[in-house]
Symmetry: C2
Subunit: 307 residues, 2 copies
């Protein structure tokens, strides 16, 4: 799947993933009111609004970006109905040819991590049958529990030719509280990066490993160090746009081959219609506004990776 | 909820939480075959088997232990149908008077962590209505992203009088890879423990905070240090039984008041019927075997907390 993701990035000249984080206040009133009219102001109504919002966004960007990244927390808050919308979103995005990165940040130990890996990337056995539960192409994973937590994911990735992105340095202001602390003179995130290389070494695609890393775009100096420390690791970069990182900030995350990173934007694309620059699209034009914002991001990123 | 949990522990003289981790191979054949006969060897069949298994286990232990801890990964692997079984399990356990600790190990940043907190402990707004999605009493949370990831959970805990257990030192063999590394001469887990105290300081119940910690029972020496470092923090202790910790190992996790810890056992109770000691119960007697194993654990733990 990492090979396929890279092929799509190259073909579309867009190292971009659109974050499908359907916050209630991002969803246009016209979408919500239609869903509520049909299903009421209920969890089912919320699930329908989320799904219709995502469907229109996917239709608007599927031919210009390689991937989407639904953030499962935003669906989980609506319970079962929200998770049905998540599953429909994953299935529809794949149907439209998009690579799907499930932003699930799961992580546990042993058989429990294996169950999460099965849930999101693998297949579960029921009697003599097997089923894929959520069936994303990639998942994000938390490393705090060590190798026991990651190994079951890597095993499933190898079996299914899928991938993970391990949290190394996150984009948030307080990410340094633990991640930046020095251990033997090097920050914790560099030690995690060492392990990411180790975990990924025997799960290689053509040029990059199935085991990727999350490194926030809000810390370009650390991005530069981590890019060098993990030469064969694909980096998922959150923090672009609304969180503050710009195209030029992202340059250090790419290798000399112009590859090695995919940059996420959520709010900046899916809620573009709320920005002054795209206000003329109006509520009802939210999907067209998202397409325009994705194209603008593609232009902005060119300075980062086209050398 | 921490006050209520403590009241129940004292009343039942059992600082015990039963881990509802319905691994496929723990569920007795008789339960699976009945579910598959009705729903087929499908995800719905798996969900039904999980639910019937849990229901019988809850009925068997509800009057002798204060709490259950469903491990959501085991349900998530069966997709939507699995999560429906999770929700039914949470609801039924609460109906039977049990405190429910959702072992979800979620953790993200800002609005995303807020969405997870809403999903598991809070209420979500849909138009003019509000709904509780999964509605556990406690949730386990991963600290790797720092305060940004935890604060939204604490806010929901305060509003809803619920609680969290933050991963400090986990029970697995590789937990030391990052958690034990020395920062300014002290292991990372102690730095996380400092933060747990800080996060919990303004979210106090009567004697203990709404913000608890997970400290594996497999590392009693670290348990001793962390007990002292976090005097007002309730500790959730995994690792008892199948993972190797015994009653005497757990003593350091309790305060002088005989409180301060709740010990989890999953396999050792819910799959007791598979052990030689409980073999006479047979497959069909799995729930009675679980009850007997829970009572034996209660006896074994007395040496740890009754001073």
């Amino acid at each position: 799947m990492i090979n396929e993701l890279i092929k799509k990035i190259v073909k579309m000249e867009a190292p971009i993933v659109v974050g499908l984080d359907p916050m209630e206040n991002y969803i246009p009133e016209c979408v919500k009111s239609k869903a509520y009219a049909e299903f009421g102001e209920t969890l089912a109504g919320a699930g329908e609004a989320v799904w219709q919002y995502n469907k229109a966004l996917i239709d608007a960007v599927a031919d210009i970006v390689p991937a989407v990244k639904p953030q499962i927390a935003m669906y989980e808050q609506f319970g079962i109905e929200g998770l049905i919308a998540y599953k429909k979103t994953v299935d529809y995005a794949k149907e439209k040819g998009l690579v799907v990165i499930g932003d699930v940040k799961r992580g546990d130990i042993g058989s429990t991590s294996a169950a999460y890996a099965t849930a999101h990337l693998g297949k579960v056995k029921v009697g003599n049958n097997t089923f894929a539960a959520f069936n994303e192409d990639f998942a994000t994973v938390n490393p705090y529990l060590g190798t026991d937590g990651i190994k079951p994911f890597v095993d499933v990735c190898k079996a299914e030719k899928k991938g993970i992105f391990v949290l190394v340095k996150t984009s948030n202001p307080s990410s340094g509280e633990f991640q930046d602390r020095l251990i033997d003179g090097r920050p914790l995130y560099e030690h995690v990066a060492d392990k990411v290389c180790e975990w990924g070494a025997d799960a290689m695609g053509d040029a990059y490993s199935y085991v990727g890393a999350v490194v926030g775009g809000t810390y370009p100096e650390m991005g530069r160090v981590l890019r060098k420390a993990m030469p064969k690791t694909f980096i998922l970069v959150p923090g672009y746009g609304a969180q503050g990182a710009k195209g030029a900030d992202i340059a250090p995350y790419f290798n000399a081959d112009g590859l090695g990173a995919i940059v996420n934007s959520s709010r900046g694309i899916i809620a573009a219609y709320k920005q002054e620059a795209y206000a003329n699209y109006g509520d009802a034009g939210f999907a067209d506004a998202a397409r325009a914002a994705a194209l603008a991001m593609k232009e902005d990123l060119k300075q980062a990776w086209m050398k």
